[in-house]
Symmetry: C2
Subunit: 222 residues, 2 copies
């Protein structure tokens, strides 16, 4: 599948690598693709990433990534997401699926980070700004390595969440999650449920602070 990733940090690179490994045709979008040697936040440079995937992917501007993808993934910061998607021309992307992985974390006051708002969600804002897109909230509740390799923790016995307004879009994202090794995939409902996924980060940052380990996740016992 042709996949366009909006963003080039650790989440974008980690998802991108796994998708390339699975044989997908990935374009990773960045604000300024001339800066291929600049080290990214919590990740290496894009030239290092391209070498790591043996140049089987491409790095381009946001708009080219968005045009390339049959499936889109937003891996920008929550505060920048809507603006970055405007730059990507998401309003002209038709009714493509967009997986939103972002959290609206406010790092300005240090650890533990605050959520910028709880009365709304990044994914809800994106869906409202781009009504034709089929936004699916996913991946925001985990560290990047776990997103693509759930079996590295407790044999994979933990839960990943998704939400969105379009059932077929969620079914397609579910198939993608299964291809990553996920077995406990929990559909929380329409895109308004993204608020729950994003608010969970208030707990996650405390778990991380207490356990000093980000390679954690929750299993919903029911």
């Amino acid at each position: 599948m042709k996949i366009g990733i909006i963003g080039s940090g650790v989440v974008a690179q980690t998802l991108g690598t796994k998708l390339v490994e699975l044989g997908h045709d990935v374009v990773l979008g960045t604000r300024d693709p001339k800066k291929l040697d600049e080290k990214k936040n919590m990740a290496g440079s894009l030239n290092e990433w391209l070498a790591s995937v043996k140049n089987k992917a491409k790095v381009a501007i946001f708009k080219e990534a968005a045009q390339h993808g049959e499936l889109l993934i937003n891996a920008t910061h929550g505060q920048a997401a809507v603006e970055a998607l405007h730059l990507a021309g998401a309003g002209e992307a038709g009714s493509k699926i967009l997986i939103d992985t972002s959290n609206e974390l406010d790092f300005s006051k240090g650890f533990p980070m605050a959520l910028a708002s709880e009365g709304r969600s990044v994914a809800g804002n994106i869906q409202a700004a781009f009504p034709k897109l089929k936004v699916v909230k996913c991946f925001n509740t985990l560290a990047a390595p776990l997103m693509v390799n759930p079996k590295m923790l407790h044999g994979g016995d933990h839960t990943i969440f998704l939400s969105g307004n379009d059932a077929a879009a969620k079914a397609q994202v579910t198939e993608l999650l299964k291809s990553f090794g996920w077995t406990d995939i929990l559909d929380l409902g329409d895109i308004s449920a993204a608020r729950g996924q994003e608010m969970y980060m208030g707990m996650w940052v405390r778990l991380y602070g207490s356990l000093k380990n980000g390679m954690i996740n929750i299993k919903v016992q029911r």
Copy 2:
């Protein structure tokens, strides 16, 4: 142990029953102890409760419950908690341990409920208002039946959280949790971490909405 519970709804009654069963000397505090026949929110009347515990506990005004308890439990609604604790004379309760079970859920806009604020926590507000009390946040992340009977779900293999500024207070609450059957007790740190526990409710209400089942909890895989 002498335990004073501030509040008389379903959480207060459920914790009260279990504590009586374990042989503790419980006084349940209510705003107006004359209204013993009034049905409580999501629970029976206090006369029914007293009959169910074979009158081995007592119902009294907030202040008497607070005076009685060597250990105090706040089981009021988050929005009313500080005011109720003022009524209970918590400022004159010395340095007793107070377990705060509350969530500041705003039901005014229907389901899913909003948290009234994320920049602060009920438990943090209580600790700030009553600096001598040893506030421990606990129990807010679960339906009442699970609080006192963790084994009813998945053999008890799920996590309960606590936070607070006083290590000895947390150790005492940990012993209480063990007496309820809890085995995975996770200390999140000082009382500021209560915010994470309270924000998790944004996820919990979505889990409840999706699964149509409140007898759920999370296991932190780490």
